[in-house]
Amino acid sequence: MYAFQYRKASSLKEAGELLVKDADAKPMSGGMTLLPTIKARLAQPTQLIDISGLSELSGIEVKGGELIIGAATRHQQVASSKVVRDALPALADLAAHIADPQVRNRGTLGGSVANNDPAADYPAAVLGLNAKIITNKREIAADDFFQGMFATALEAGELIVRIAFPLPKKAAYAKFPHPASGYAMAGVFIAQTAAGVRVAVTGAGSGVFRWSDAEAALMKSMDPTALAKLTVATDDLNEDIHGTREYRAQLVKVMAGRAAATIAGKN
């Protein structure tokens, strides 16, 4: 762990300014990815700007057909919130299966989405539901937000304030966790809305992506059997000691089937 300066931001405005002023400063919310990275000496920030306590980043509410969650809301709060459970149970379930209880007690929605780990769970829900990412500068559509491994549309000093999830008719998330890390080897979020079906996949590729063939098939019939004849293109999938591209493609298909079955009430 390199030395750094810790600073608790007193307001969103101050946090943004501090980050703009010092390009090597980093915002920290739950710190569940950032601190292990710093501990491993893989990052050397000059300052950590702690934004976890900012009131602007808190709150969970349903408004105008959207579930709006403050960026500093911890995974455990999302998982156990009655508002979330009633409005969008798939998101509560997803949050309840991120990492482990201790991490869920610290990690936050905004931190996870801003970090955009290719195997994180939240990005699948954000993209699957076509959520809006509201920052201290603007609103960004999910389709424009995620830009591949650890890359997002966020600019220097730009912080996620809240995320607005349009409420679907139905939604479900199924995940195949990596046996060691617990991260998704394949996580599939399916949302059924008035506009159609969106299928977002995390863990299998270099970043969260939509599986359009599955969207078309499930639009016709929200049933696992609708996926039977589909194949997942393997070109952009990950391959490592834990699994080949072909295995990850299979897991995507199986997880998509499980999520579809949940929506269809067949589990």
Partner: protein, 155 residues
């Protein structure tokens, strides 16, 4: 360097630490509370679990300065007035520990789990232990102890 102040096991504690000092190091090195252990450096093993403001956290993945002003409970604070916490009691009764190194973290995690969910199912117990690793027990007696503690707490 930062001056910090927190309540640890009911006592006010102060200290001066480098910003980069982890909560677990503050507890172990500055307060000499060596019951909280460090078993890994990637936030997986949970041996360092303590309660911060009532919730289980991995003290190896939190800076001491982040706990400034917090209420912290460690394994040393679980037994009260010479009486073991029901989870501690259940761990010994069920032979849920062998080498004992993961045990403090396990106990802190289980105590927090049962606070949120006093009657967990087997699946919920296993899910609740995902952030804690044990190399000795195969977890069988730990799961048993969680169930026993759930019963003990309602006696």
């Amino acid at each position: 360097m930062a001056k910090i102040k927190m309540t640890v096991n009911g006592k006010q504690c102060t200290g001066e630490v480098e910003d980069r000092v982890l909560l677990v190091n503050f507890l172990r090195d500055s307060l000499n509370l060596t019951g909280t252990h460090v078993g890994c450096d990637t936030s997986q093993c949970g041996a360092c679990t303590v309660h911060v403001d009532g919730r289980a956290v991995k003290s190896c993945t939190m800076l001491a300065v982040q706990a400034d002003g917090a209420d912290v409970v460690t394994i040393e604070g679980m037994a009260k007035n010479g009486k073991l916490h029901p989870v501690q009691q259940a761990f010994t009764e069920c032979h849920a520990l062998q080498c004992g190194f993961c045990t403090p973290g396990m106990i802190m995690t289980v105590a927090a789990l049962l606070k949120d969910n006093p009657h967990p199912t087997d699946d919920e117990i296993v899910h609740g232990l995902e952030g804690n690793m044990c190399r000795c027990t195969g977890y069988l007696n730990i799961v048993k102890a969680v169930k026993q503690a759930a019963g003990l707490q309602h006696k």
